[in-house]
């Protein structure tokens, strides 16, 4: 018991340190390189609202606080959201190949965003927030439609039907997006780069917009981490273990969709994070969701911060879309993992 707990605490510590180091690296690197320790100190002092010592360049502090930190934090937030949602989806659907986009919620969010960009919409009161807000709303509409559709097909929400319905919905929404793109002339570049995903130039506001969804979504999933363990063994088994499967599944779907929708609405559809990161974490720390969920947060956040760093530094000053980098890095990692697993099994 105690050994188990202390074991978990060690893992949390490792994860937290990993994320902090990634964030600090993300802040330090860029067109203007700032020493690692300096950025660490600036971060530290900013958090506790301490005065900056004289030897720290004020421009550096301003760059860190106003430009780099929001960007890096947003990357971390989006990465954490996607990895956490991915881990939950994989557990709920009992399928290691599920990802946050399986259910089509992200396609819904993306369609909303593309629609806003296409029409150049700007709703009163919302202003520049029109896009993320509409996007989150359409994401949720998609989820409700999906669940209604599944319930219409059969009374009990079975995993297989949810996956099938998700595939139907997301391919339909995907074709709608393609349809809009086909009609687009001027906004094409904007739409395509949004779709490929980016965390650049969003500022603090986007973080504040995202945080409540993240806290709520993560809270819902954490409250269901034991139920996720039981659900992995199938609905019937989970039920006999005392899990109120209908209620729990809805909660998990809602939590994971919140995270996904919110992440997509601020950064576009960034692929592979939600698939590879939980998979990797599971290989290292085991499939127990008690550990898998928090570790996915740390690993997903860190991973996306590093990917974003690569996206903006590889061929600087040109920025690559972050979604492209995650796939470029993620696919080979995934391949290697699969290969290793096969080798292990052969033994």
């Amino acid at each position: 018991m105690n050994s188990q707990n202390s074991n978990a605490i060690t893992c949390y510590l490792i994860g937290a340190v990993f994320l902090c180091v990634c964030i600090t690296i993300g802040i330090s690197a860029g067109s203007l390189s700032i020493p690692f320790l300096t950025s660490a100190e600036v971060l530290w002092r900013s958090i506790w609202n301490l005065d900056m010592p004289a030897e720290i360049n004020e421009t550096h502090a301003a760059i860190i606080w106003n430009i780099r930190l929001p960007r890096v934090l947003l990357a971390a937030l989006v990465g954490s959201s996607l990895a956490l949602a991915g881990a939950a989806f994989q557990g709920l659907l009992k399928n290691p190949l599920a990802d946050p986009y399986t259910l089509g919620v992200s396609s819904g969010a993306a369609l909303g965003a593309v629609f806003v960009l296409f029409l150049g919409l700007s709703l009163p009161l919302l202003g520049s927030f029109t896009l993320p807000v509409v996007s989150i709303l359409t994401g949720f509409l998609t989820l409700f439609f999906l669940l209604g559709f599944v319930r219409f097909i059969e009374k009990s929400l079975t995993t297989e039907t949810i996956i099938l319905a998700g595939i139907i919905v997301s391919s339909f929404l995907g074709s709608m997006i393609s349809f809009i793109i086909a009609l687009t002339e001027d906004e094409l570049r904007q739409i395509v780069s949004w779709l490929m995903g980016s965390v650049a130039m969003k500022g603090w506001d986007y973080i504040w917009l995202n945080v409540p969804f993240f806290v709520l979504g993560a809270g819902l999933l954490f409250a269901n981490r034991k139920e996720l363990n039981a659900l992995v063994f199938g609905e019937e088994t989970a039920k006999t273990l005392g899990v109120d499967t209908d209620k729990r599944r809805m909660t998990i779907l809602a939590g994971a969709s919140l995270l996904t929708g919110a992440a997509v609405s601020v950064s576009g559809t960034i692929g592979f994070v939600g698939l590879v990161v939980p998979h990797l974490v599971r290989l290292i720390f085991g499939p127990d969701h008690n550990l898998l969920l928090p570790m996915s947060i740390f690993a997903g956040g860190g991973f996306l911060v590093l990917t974003d760093l690569a996206a903006r530094t590889i061929i600087a000053p040109t920025e690559l879309p972050i979604g492209v980098i995650t796939a470029i890095i993620g696919a080979p990692i995934f391949g290697i993992l699969l290969f290793q697993e096969r080798c292990k099994r052969m033994k």
């Binding site: 088994t237 039920k239 005392g242 899990v243 499939p287 127990d288």
Partner: protein
């Protein structure tokens, strides 16, 4: 503690389970049997709350099932599934810990010391503690099943439900699983409801059996009442036989292949072939006869198609006659398993065949006799001489027909009486007591029925079969005794 009142329901509008009623006490094992699609698994689903019955009520500890929350129900009832495969490789301990879920409360609850203790105990009792930290998919089918059993046990349930728990297990695992369950019903007052495919397993381990047929409760009672041949044949639409288990008091159900029509043109006794030499008489048949005998080889009930009466010298002595006889049979290329074999010191050419055949039956009796060792059964206790001498009367009775076990026993009695009468009438004397002998000390008898055609329920002297057996045995023994005496007299004359 568990009561089902008129439970009816299913998945759609047509009920799969119809009007099931029963009550169970703590520490009881209920076996549910029935053909595929008879609603066994569905009934279990009602009991563990995965399905809700349309009509009727399930009551657990005086409270209707639908008033239990899923968690509280899981504290009462645990389920051992057939086999669950998970996409992710949890360790054995993690799987067993899931069984503690219903006992944990609060949003951020973690495993308490009590949980830890229960989990360890469950793993120890099921014998999986030694691989607690191994991933479950590295285990064999039987080990996995025991892990799932440990998980069910960790729920600390009052009632354990099993859905064909022995499906993927080999025989020894099946037995050990059911033995464990039986023990727990005694030691923990655990109540077990098990859907079982194997009727014999159900018979051996259940206190009561529920037989389901097309969703209905066909029978519910002790195994010996429920497992009735006619009922089972009707429910399962298969030919089967019921016997008593050789070592425990429970019925034993055996299956029969669908019956082939048999060529009735011949009298079956005519198909026997006889092979007589000085060393042995061998009667062989193309098909198997169901035999009851006290032969050296193939004693008791068995199925045989070779019948050997082997001549041995008077001084034959062997510590393990079965083994020696087996080697002998192998030498003459007869399969020991197919053979009923006797031995005698009497000369085989004195043997006698008597066949009695009429419209009511057809039997053949073969007898050989040597009386140098004759015994009066009523005085046998006086003889403390343990020395073993071969002077034997061997009698074989072949019957064209089908006998039940009672008839076999009665035919044995009738034949024994007929033999004794023949000895009395020939004034055979027990050399020790100087009184009239009733047999010899090493007599052997075999009753073989072709097990087709006419059925004989009785073999006593009141029955047609018994009358025939009595007459034929008496005549055969008489004839062989006369041959024996005649030759003895001739020998004496010569000497």
């Amino acid at each position: 503690m568990l009561e089902l009142k008129g439970v009816t329901g299913g998945y759609g509008s047509i009920p799969v389970v119809k009007n099931i009623n029963f009550q169970m006490n703590a520490g009881e094992i209920l076996g549910i049997i029935g053909p595929n699609g008879s609603g066994k698994s569905t009934l279990l689903k009602f009991i563990y709350g995965s399905l809700h019955p349309e009509k009727g009520q399930i009551v657990i500890d005086n409270q209707p099932l639908d008033r239990y929350s899923q968690k509280n129900l899981a504290k009462k009832i645990a389920v051992l599934p057939q086999q669950t495969d998970s996409a992710f490789s949890y360790t054995v301990r993690q799987v067993v810990e899931l069984g503690r879920y219903p006992h944990q409360t609060g949003w951020f609850s973690s495993n308490s010391d009590k949980d830890e203790k229960v989990v360890n105990k469950a793993m120890t009792e099921t014998g999986v503690f030694s691989f607690a930290d191994q991933p479950i998919d590295s285990l064999s089918g039987g080990e996995k099943q025991r892990v799932l059993l440990a998980r069910a046990l960790a729920q600390e349930p009052d009632i354990l439900l099993l859905d064909e728990p022995t499906n993927h297990l080999d025989i020894s695992y099946q037995l050990s699983l059911l033995d464990t369950l039986k023990e727990w019903t005694d030691s923990k007052q655990l109540t077990v409801i098990a859907v079982l495919h194997d009727l014999n397993m159900a018979a051996m381990y259940s206190h009561r059996i529920l037989l389901m047929d097309q969703g209905e409760q066909r029978a519910l009672d002790k195994p010996s009442y429920v497992l009735e041949k006619t009922v089972l044949e009707e429910v399962y639409d298969a030919h089967l036989q019921r016997k008593e288990h050789p070592s425990v008091p429970s019925p034993l159900i055996t299956l029969e292949p669908s019956k082939r029509s048999f060529d009735e043109r011949f009298d079956l006794l005519d198909t026997l072939t006889f092979d007589e030499t000085e060393e042995r008489v061998c009667i062989s048949s193309q098909f198997y006869w169901k035999t009851l005998s006290s032969a050296v080889i193939g004693a008791g009930f068995g199925w045989h198609r070779f019948f050997v009466n082997r001549h041995v010298e008077k001084d034959y002595h062997c510590d393990n006659p079965q083994e020696e006889y087996g080697a002998y049979l192998q030498n003459i290329s007869l399969d020991t398993a197919d053979t009923a074999g006797m031995m005698t010191a009497a000369l085989l050419k004195d043997g006698s065949f008597i066949r009695l055949k009429d419209s009511e039956g057809d039997i053949l009796v073969y007898a050989t006799a040597g009386t140098s060792n004759a015994v009066d059964v009523s005085k046998a206790y006086e003889n403390t001489d343990l020395s073993f001498a071969i002077g034997t009367i061997n009698i074989w009775i072949f019957i064209d027909g089908k006998l039940n076990e009672a008839a076999y026993a009665q035919v044995m009695m009738t034949a024994t009486e007929a033999k004794s009468k023949a000895l009395l009438d020939h004034k055979i004397i027990d050399n020790h007591s100087r009184t009239l002998a009733t047999g010899t000390s090493t007599d052997s008898m075999l009753v073989a029925a072709v097990h087709r055609g006419k059925e004989f329920m009785y073999g006593g002297t009141a029955s047609t079969l018994g009358k025939k057996v009595g007459k034929a045995v008496y005549d055969a023994v008489t004839e062989t005794l006369e041959k024996y005496n005649q030759r003895k007299n001739e020998n004496e004359k010569w000497e």
